[in-house]
Amino acid sequence: MSGRDDSRRADGRPLTVAVTGLNATDNPGPGVPVIRAIRAACPDCRIVGLAYDALDPGNYMDGIADDVWLMPYPSQGAGVLEERLRAIHATTPLDAVIPTLDSELPTYLKLVDRLRDLGIGTFLPTADMLRLRGKDRLDALRTELGVSTPRGVALTDPAAIGKLDEELDFPVMVKGQFYDAAIAYSPMDVHAHFERFRAKWGVPVIVQEFVAGEEYDVVALGDGEGGLVGSVAMRKMQLTDKGKAWGGVTVADRKLDAFVRDTMAKLRWRGPCELEVMKASDGSGLYLIEINPRFPAWVYLSVGAGRNLPWAAVQLALGEHVAPMPPAPAGVMFLRHSFDQICSLADYSALTTLGELHHAAASSPATAEEVAR
């Protein structure tokens, strides 16, 4: 880095970064850990939280967002989002925005050029990359880009289940197009899961060869030209009942590092992502199971491992050069916890009625009388 003070812009105001996904619930969005990572590198940055719900816990947490704005849902479209961002930008000039949720990415992608014209930087995957990571396209990643994924087919018609064994070896994983997965040992099993997932998520239903082995989650940041800025690989130690990581430890495995570097190069991935990788127990190697096109909620572990990827993403969004980081050390562990925070009803009132909240100083919980004032 150059010697200048990162936290100030040329006009003397603090570097201001907007971050979404403040839903720090039991199935958390990545916003709060991303903000903590940015704060770790840049204590004087101003952080603007963009929340979809007045009850997102991140809105109220001490030392997270300086300002919180309620946002229209992505389903309202790019026009409405742009209007809201412009209004925020007029009050609090933004230097960069880091969207962290799957559902909002397509909408933000439409605005990348307009945001750049406003002076707001982003560093996101392209629309083409988003299409490629669709679950029904994983097989195309293997056949067209040579990425190692389990063989798979996208089923639309149950009549094709009978012919599955010509293409795939059982057992197989059956996956809904958005969520859900189940293992199947026979075409009969596939039939049962197919009907269930079709009813719930529609077609296609994806069938993939089952890879038995160890699963690793990797947070990675690609430069969009085939280069890897940095990555941290983690093995889950503790799971929630939804199978999400509640605790984990970094691993250092040269083969895994090489696999991640190779995969990111083939994808020419730009921006953050989480790769789910299986190391096959039969020794056949590593397989990419899924790509999530954003930081995972456990991304703060990258700070612990000395590879602050969210901050690197901010720098890239600002157009700065970031040198590639060496592989992360093994043995850095995290455990998530939850605690009950006392919040101010007045803050909640401000968010619900005005749609914005500004944490000037630490606020104390308001009583009903204070609200009524």
């Binding site: 309620l70 968010l351 914005e356």
Partner: protein, 449 residues
């Protein structure tokens, strides 16, 4: 003390566990004018509900689409899909712009002929073409698109009877990687049925293959599916050329491009999610240009684009009949246009815009039509400001299918007007009267009142 501006008194309970929308949220939208003409004046003059079409948007969309394809490919011909909207005025606008007619029944065929379209500029599609209609079509030289073997045999017999060789096209269906796969129309390509049918018609000696047609689906959001379809059709045409010597003169990729409308199942608004027409053009034309046709045998590219040309040009103007609170507290509006005239509400999340927003809190509202039927729901949920009975709303885009599929169940069909490019307003279909509904009926004398 001076009085403050008024808005309707509202109280909304914050739902537990549901996302809150009570902040300032989305920007408020209203629509006072269509193409510069005040909506309230339209209601005063022509009543409510009212179909409104914009000539400017129709012509603009057509030119945009034509340009997208003709810049990329040397021979392009659009045909207006009558079933999407067969108002004479609408058809004439597209014909003036250069479109032929694409019809799917004998009455649509007659409509096109009455509008002065010669037989050779009519593409005749559809799974059922009665024999008299086939005779007329053959005599007038229209482009017959065969859908199944029985039709092939019938047309062959009629050709033999007439003692001539009749050019025909066949409709094919195939896997283009999209869901659902439409395989009920035409002959299947992937299992070899299409090529069989072509060999069969060639062998009979009375038919000659002129074109290949497909229509892969509706509201297809993936332009690459059309690229795959075009590539497969081109491959079939080249196979036919090799095997039989017949030169396929045109490839018709049908319709099905998405408009800016929004399916209920789509998360983002259609305006964000629907690909621009250039993407479809790029996928289709690059497949054809890369297929390997000899330079002097490049087939004409035919298109039957319907929805994508007209949807945005159609508006439904309606008025609030009443306000309601459902038992669970949900706000409801009754309006005078229901699924009887907005059939596409079953599939699409139309924009509903107040003509005048007097302020007040936005609230999730269910919009019911005027029918005495539970299914008459125009929007299950839309954010709207408080509205009074008599207030006007505009529903859009509704240019495709709503008018042709409208019905007379308990209400007569409303008028349709066209706003011209100089803001002139013409009635292009008058509001129906009772005789339009009851005219065809006959009452036996013994039942006379």
């Amino acid at each position: 003390m001076s009085r403050q501006p008024y808005d309707k008194p509202t109280i909304l309970k914050h739902a537990t566990g549901l996302a809150n929308k009570f902040g300032r949220g989305p920007s408020r939208k209203s629509l006072e004018r269509i193409d510069g003409v005040k909506v309230t004046e339209l209601i005063e003059r022509f009543g409510s509900p009212l179909f409104v079409f914009s000539e400017h948007r129709l012509r603009q969309k057509y030119r945009e689409a034509y340009r997208a394809f003709s810049l990329r490919y040397p021979k392009v011909q659009f045909s207006w899909s009558y079933k999407t909207n067969y108002l004479d005025a609408v058809c004439r606008i597209f014909h003036q712009e250069g479109a032929w007619a694409e019809v799917v029944s004998e009455i649509e065929y007659e409509m096109a002929r009455r509008l002065g379209i010669p037989g050779e500029h009519i593409l005749f599609n559809g799974p059922y073409k009665p024999e008299p209609a086939l005779r007329t079509a053959i005599a007038e030289g229209s482009k017959l698109h065969l859908d199944h073997y029985e039709e092939l045999y019938t047309v062959e017999r009629l050709a033999r009877e007439a003692g001539r060789v009749v050019p025909v096209s066949i409709r094919i269906n195939m896997d283009t990687g999209i869901h659902p796969r439409w395989d009920r129309f035409g002959f299947n390509l992937d299992n070899g049925e299409a090529l069989d049918a072509i060999r069969r018609l060639h062998a009979g000696g009375h038919l000659v293959l002129e074109g290949i047609h497909s229509h892969i689906g509706t509201f297809v959001l993936d332009p690459e599916a059309y690229g795959r379809a075009a590539a497969k059709m081109a491959e079939l045409a080249l196979t036919v050329r090799r095997e039989t010597g017949m030169v396929v003169k045109y490839l018709d990729v049908g319709g099905g491009f998405a408009s800016r409308s929004t399916l209920h199942s789509q998360y983002a608004p259609g305006a964000d999610g629907s690909p621009p027409i250039d993407d479809y053009a790029e996928a289709i034309t690059s497949a054809l240009l890369g297929a390997g046709f000899p330079q002097n045998e490049m087939p004409t590219l035919m298109l039957e684009t319907g929805r994508a040309l007209i949807d945005d040009a159609g508006f439904m103007v309606t008025r609030v009949v009443g306000n309601k609170r459902l038992a669970n507290g949900t706000r409801a509006l009754i309006v005078d246009a229901g699924v009887n005239v907005l059939f596409t509400s079953f599939w699409y999340r139309h924009d509903v815009l107040p003509v005048l927003d007097r302020g007040g809190m936005l609230e999730e509202t269910v919009i019911y039509g005027p029918l005495c039927m539970n299914i008459d729901v125009v929007r299950p949920s839309v954010l709207l400001p408080p509205l009074e009975a008599g207030d006007a709303l505009v529903i859009r885009p509704v240019g495709a299918y709503n008018l042709t599929q409208s019905m007379q169940f308990i209400r007569l069909r409303p008028a349709a007007i066209l706003i011209g490019e100089n803001q002139e307003v013409d009635v292009v279909r008058r509001a129906e009267v009772l005789d339009d509904l009851k005219g065809p009926e006959l009452l036996p004398a013994r039942l006379a009142p």
